[in-house]
Amino acid sequence: MNPFTNVPRQVEERLEHADWTTSRRDFLKTSGLLVVSFSAVAVASPFGSASETAARQGAGPYPDPDFKQLDSWIVIHQDNTATFYVGKTDLGQGTGTAFRQVMSDELDIAFDKTSVIMGNTDITVDQGGSGGSDALQVDGWPMRRVAAEARRVLLEMASVHFAVPVDRLTVRDAVISVTTDPDKKATYGELIGGRRFNVTLTGENINATTGRATVKTVQELRIVGQSPQRYDIPGKVDGSSRWAVDVKLPNMVHARNVKPPVAGATLIAVDESSVRDLPGFVKVVSKGNYVAVVSEREEQAIAAARQLKVNWKKPAAGVFPTSEGLFKYIRAATPTSSSKPSSSGDPDATLSTAAKLVEAEYEMPFQGHVAIGPAHALADPSNDQMTIYSNDMKSYGLRAGIAEFLQMPRDRVRVLWMDGPQGYGRTAADDAGFEAAFLAREVGRPVRVQWMREEETAWDTKGPAFTFKMRGALDSQGNLVALDYEARAADHGHLGYNEPDTVLVAQLTGKRRATPAAGSAATPSDMYVVPNRRAATHVVAMPLVWESPLRTGNLRDPNGPQVTFAAESFIDELAAAAKADPVEFRLRLLTANTADDNAFRRARSIAVVKAAAKASEWDTRPSPNPVDSGNIVTGRGFAYAFRNQTVIAQVAEVEVNRRTGRIWVKRLVCAHDCGLVINPEALRRTVEGAMLHGLSRALYEEVTFDTEKVTSVNWRSYPILTHADAPARIDVVLVNGDPTPDRPDLPHYGAGEAACKPMIAAVANAIYDATGVRIRRVPFRAERVLAALKTAAIA
């Protein structure tokens, strides 16, 4: 008997609208169908009104879906539609749509006849969730191969059905016909709808998963390269989408944390009587320095958390150097670790004999993820299991981490990934997921926890602060002959994703690892050819490593914007010192000596730099532009970077108000080469958002703190870009600079965060072009710019 894991559409639809006493797994059982490892309970989002007696979880356990079974990836329904199951998450950049495109193309089915389910640990294989902008670069390949394999299997089935060889069959839009007799045809749904493939795949890990079929050439792809609209947008626009923040379960309660008032405080006592009589009060949970209040209703939990009397012991003196003293502190600190410098040629000798020596230092403060909706999760402890509803981009890591933290078998824990406010990286969504699970176990009821705004903005993980020291040597012709880079990052104790011994609740309850992570400071990512070059990096520790609101974690393109701000600002300073046009100066560095291993990358870099210059109608001349007499002066800046295999070059055109110091970036241009483009319009919007995220970091974002706490705690004290700052025009140019642009195996590289990288430098370079004043300290808020202009007697 064939077990039915290829669940018919009508069953799925029934489940989608069913009451939640029945999971899909249970449904299969009660239908008399054999239960197998493949289930899809989260096809339907598990929430709704109380009348949907929702969400008693199924009996479990929840073993990992077997990535070597084709049925774990693709379900074909009797109505000739398909559902794809992938272990990724979509942070709102259209990756889910792109997955459907690549898989539809390989399977040969119309895009609108497919759907995709992502990131639910019990029904989608563990592809790690999101991160590193590698969704298409890495995970897209097994998706393509398994879809191609499904097509191959269907062709073989049709071959048997029609008794003709496969090479005499034609397949289009999920219909297979006999080439010479097109009336003989069968749909995918007729061939397999509602039944299992039962095809075993190979591959030593998920990324290597493959069948026997080969993927299509680029020239054969029909859906890739088109721009179907993102399927998730209508529900986000009409209010019908259901998010992790919306989940409701019977008997659920609400929790709010009470954080230590200052860094390094220890809990003396909690006075539960201060809130016991409040309406809806359920419980105070207190362990180590972790404190939370649980109430029946959300507003009751908020009120109780505010009212709870907690006695904390503060450290004798404040521990932090203050945000004003941060860079002095970083420069003076003894590094906790230093990398072995990468070096080529003889930079010291070249620098000491340079025709012109250029030196500069740059500073980048801590910046936050600061999600627009504070961290949250809901955990359900029914049936001695734990189900966590979360928007965490790494749902699989969250599941594994929570299982370890609670010492539960992994297969008794599952994470259902749902949409959420995104912070792109190691956000506090990790922390909230663990807290919800911890509290659910303590309370014995489903617990929804959400951080408050001041908690999110103060305690969310930070992108590390940096100082940079750069030196460059120009020869008598203005060629760059030596480049020396030294970075210091305040990154000791850098948090990984979903680590059961570093998430905040683990730290606060004392379950933390003995040795903090070493952290890192990155080096510039470019393809410049400089004969004598050195890059050295150091990591320093803040005075408090654990239980600190200044904890660091990956922020979108971790370290990229910081490092590229320094590196590409400095290239601009060198170009100015050489009295060379900034684009021409960069192209000189990119065209030199192209016969080495990086020739491929260099060729693509040249194409991208030229495309950005062309699209912006770049006016070839050295910077700065002579300052005219008006209040508003204008300039343009250029910056370029390489991220993994993606190349980006950007132009910012700015207006600087000499009276106020306000910067308005009125136009942005981005040339972007991420290889094969799956969905050009979705990509353009992703690039626009990433650029403006970079612009927000350039102009506004800075974590401030005094000696004992973070003082940037809301949108007034941690300002970000607003509508008032939006550029009047953005041009995104999609480039394919591959030296053999028509190659049939053109890869798809990453695009989620590359465009963040050069933005801050492009703006700094444009300010210099407009004013002749170099701002070497981020962010470029009006008061800082105005002060610099006054110093230079420009204001």
Partner: protein, 165 residues
């Protein structure tokens, strides 16, 4: 706790809550209306926006008992199964990234267009400035507002920015 009556999206509801409860929690948790979202609880970001008597109001800052007029949430913006032109423009322009803030963007844009059917760039920037987006979709939001203006008043300028899906 006491009974409070609210008219939301054309329907009348009576809820038994502490009258000082911010409207946001009643809409989300008692009436299952998830368009408005908690973003800051401080009136700084706009994620919780609803329309009351034609004005964009931050529901995290309004006590439930203080609401006097009819409330429209994102769910109530479409009429007879047809999306409001602002919503349609949002889809046509493919505005959202993560989408969490878009409730506030859409409802604030709706009230902006009620006031200025053919808004200037400056009116859009000023009128929308208090609605924050962490994915920084501002450029597309502004393009969608112009697109919606043109759809609602065809003589309005329709200078959509950039490419359109």
């Amino acid at each position: 706790m006491s009974n409070v009556t609210l008219k939301v999206n054309g329907k009348t509801h009576t809820v038994d809550v502490d009258p000082s409860t911010p409207l946001l929690y009643v809409l989300r948790n008692d009436l299952d209306l998830h368009g408005p979202r908690f973003g800051c609880g401080l009136g700084q970001c706009g994620a919780c926006t609803v329309i009351i008597n034609g004005a964009a109001v931050r529901s995290c800052m309004v006590a439930t008992s203080a609401v006097k007029g009819e409330i429209t949430t994102l769910e109530g913006l479409s009429k007879d199964g047809k999306l409001h032109p602002v919503q349609q423009a949002w889809i046509d322009e493919q505005v959202p990234q993560c989408g969490f803030c878009q409730n506030g963007q859409i409802l604030t844009a709706k009230t902006l267009l009620d006031r200025y059917p053919n808004p200037t760039d400056a009116q859009i920037r000023q009128g929308m400035a208090g609605v924050l987006c962490r994915c920084m979709t501002y450029y597309r939001v502004q393009a969608a507002i112009k697109r919606a203006a043109h759809a609602m008043v065809p003589t309005a300028s329709a200078s959509s920015k950039g490419g359109v899906a």
